[in-house]
């Protein structure tokens, strides 16, 4: 197995002087291609900060993040934007779909954000295939408001995979769903990541979701502790 993600000694400090808050302290981890890992921890533990740094949304105060050979911490703001569009897939707490675009268009939109776009017909075909795998073939033409919460989150999963990313970052995907629906969504997510040989990190505070992942990491007060499921 090849190592795809390396986080080495990452610290994140917000503010400075008296008001400085250390959100993350000397966190290190590495992920191999195809791994799906859960990141567990209570709110305020630093898990969102770690996810943001890995995803190129925040720059670390010290330490390095390397994803597929790219030094994420060294990217400029513009490069970060391109990096996120092409290399990372995101699934947010609430699906955050574009409300005036259909499910299919929400997926196809991702292609327009890339620097190297695939032809429109090809993007459409890929969107339809993803929606089909997620059990949404007959909902492709629906607007988000016509979809249930679970369906919306499934569209968001499709969206995160649309640009064939190296890494999928998932932020509390079940926060807006009830337990049964949450399980279904995570199960589907795990299956998609596995079948496509993708690597994924899922932030959650729900221990029951860990069974769908290869292993889990715990984070507490900014300290990352590895644990094996």
């Amino acid at each position: 197995m090849t190592e795809i993600l390396t986080v080495d000694g990452v610290t994140k400090v917000y503010g400075s002087g008296h008001t400085a808050v250390t959100a993350l302290e000397h966190a290190s981890l590495s992920l191999e291609q195809g791994e799906f890992v859960a990141l567990l921890g209570p709110s305020g533990s630093g898990k969102t900060t770690l996810l943001s740094i890995i995803g190129g949304l925040l720059a670390p105060s010290t330490g390095t993040v390397s994803l597929g050979g790219i030094d994420v911490g060294a990217l400029s703001a513009k490069q970060q934007t391109v990096f996120r569009a092409e290399t990372v897939g995101f699934v947010f707490q609430s699906a955050n779909l574009v409300p005036f675009l259909t499910a299919r268009e929400n997926l196809v939109l991702m292609n327009t954000l890339r620097r190297h776009k695939v032809p429109a017909a090809q993007a459409r075909a890929r969107a339809d295939q993803l929606l089909d795998e997620l059990g949404l073939a007959d909902r492709a033409g629906n607007l988000p408001e016509q979809l249930s919460g679970g369906e919306r989150q499934r569209v968001a999963i499709g969206r995160s995979l649309m640009n064939d990313p190296d890494l999928v970052l998932v932020d509390e995907p079940t926060a807006a769903l009830d337990t049964t629906l949450g399980r279904q969504v995570v199960q589907l997510l795990a299956r998609e990541i596995k079948e496509r040989g993708k690597t994924g990190i899922m932030v959650t505070h729900d221990l029951r979701m860990v069974e769908y992942t290869d292993r889990y990491l715990e984070i507490l007060d900014g300290h990352l502790q590895a644990a094996t499921a």
Partner: protein, 367 residues
């Protein structure tokens, strides 16, 4: 797929409100512009349409055709001054006459030469006068029943209209171009106090040789020469009217910018979470900003089209005599300024979009 245009198409109802507001503003601006143009053109037509480059007045008249009076001798001197190609003496009389359908206001403009510098070069109908009792009239007088062949009488002095010209009103009164002799007769009849004066004229219209400026013409004492533009601006109230109406128009356009600005500021505020997650997904501020401007341009553009249609409809029912003039050029300027106002308004939200931190898309508020 353009995000901004997709939103316009799918959320038409939401943009309808701002477009309607912009349509009403464009309507207001266009009506104000049409009034401004109508007043301006009605006041200045006789001067603008004439081929003269400059006008000579008595200095104490301060550029007012109504107050000016020049002795015949001064007019003759001007004709031979270096740099002057053609000098046409003019007699001006703002008065009331009678036409086929009764009373009408006219500006009588007498000149000895029907092809002179003070008379519009192009007829829209009929021919030029061939005798001293014939005249050419502003085609506006058609609404009062005046046609080629009609007789117009001023204080008992008659003239036969043999041709029509367009855009030839002076101070809101349609012009009647007569011979100098007819003008003098009419003047004597309408203003008995002038009967002793049998030789003076009001002003002299000048055509200058190429490269000669109005100020360089050598003039007799007590005579000043103003360029055509200066003469137009010296018409009482014209410049003031125009600047007042323009001030109202520009203020209204500023309101348009504010309306667009507020609309997009609210939209951006409401879309904050969505914009943050789009940025997290890799949408650049540039892409989102382009969408914003596209929306502003389309909303303002549609507003202008609707507003122009409304203004034209109102133009159809406005009674004759109201000085209102719709010009394509003005419509173009208003359209461009409106769209600029829209873009300016939208620009305020650009900063807001740029400042949205994509990192806020993670974590959220749900726990």
């Amino acid at each position: 797929m353009r995000l901004g245009l997709a939103e316009l198409r799918r959320n038409r109802g939401r943009f309808a409100s701002v477009t309607a507001a912009l349509a009403l503003i464009a309507f207001l601006v266009l009506i104000l512009s049409a009034i401004s143009d109508g007043l301006y053109f009605g006041a200045t037509g006789a001067l603008r349409s004439a081929p003269a480059d400059a006008y000579a007045f008595s200095t104490d008249a301060k550029g007012s055709l109504v107050r000016s009076s020049l002795p015949a001798q001064a007019a003759a001197q001007l004709a031979t001054a270096p740099g002057v190609r053609q000098a046409t003496p003019l007699g001006v009389l703002l008065t009331t006459g009678a036409g086929p359908r009764g009373e009408l206001d006219v500006a009588v403009l007498g000149s000895p030469d029907p092809r002179g510098a003070g008379v519009p070069g192009k007829l829209t109908e009929g021919r030029r006068p061939s005798s001293a009792t014939e005249s050419v009239a502003d085609s506006v007088l058609r609404s009062r029943g005046v046609r080629v062949g009609s007789t117009v009488t001023v204080s008992g002095v008659s003239t036969q209209v043999v041709g029509l010209v367009s855009d030839a009103s002076y101070q809101g009164q349609p012009t009647l171009y007569t011979s100098l002799a007819t003008w003098r007769e009419m003047r004597h009849a309408a203003r008995p106090e002038t009967r002793g004066d049998t030789s003076s004229v009001t002003a002299v219209a000048l055509r200058l040789d190429p490269g000669v400026s109005a100020s360089s013409v050598q003039v007799p004492a007590g005579v000043s020469v103003l360029t055509k533009d200066e003469t137009i601006n010296a018409i009482p109230g014209t410049a003031q009217q125009r600047s007042t109406l323009n001030a109202i128009i520009y203020t209204t356009l500023l309101v348009a910018a504010l309306v667009v600005g507020l609309f997009f500021a609210l939209l951006t505020l409401e879309r904050r979470d969505l914009l943050a997650s789009l940025k997290a997904l890799g949408a650049s501020t540039r892409l989102l900003g382009t969408g914003l401007f596209l929306q502003a341009v389309v909303a303002t553009g549609v507003g202008v089209v609707v507003g122009a249609a409304l203004a034209r409809l109102l133009g159809l029912v406005i009674p004759e005599g109201v000085p209102i003039l719709f010009r394509t050029q003005t419509l173009g300027v208003v359209a461009v300024l409106s769209i600029l106002s829209g873009v300016l308004g939208a620009a305020f939200s650009l900063r807001r979009i740029a400042r949205i931190d994509p990192a806020t898309a993670l974590g959220g508020t749900l726990q």
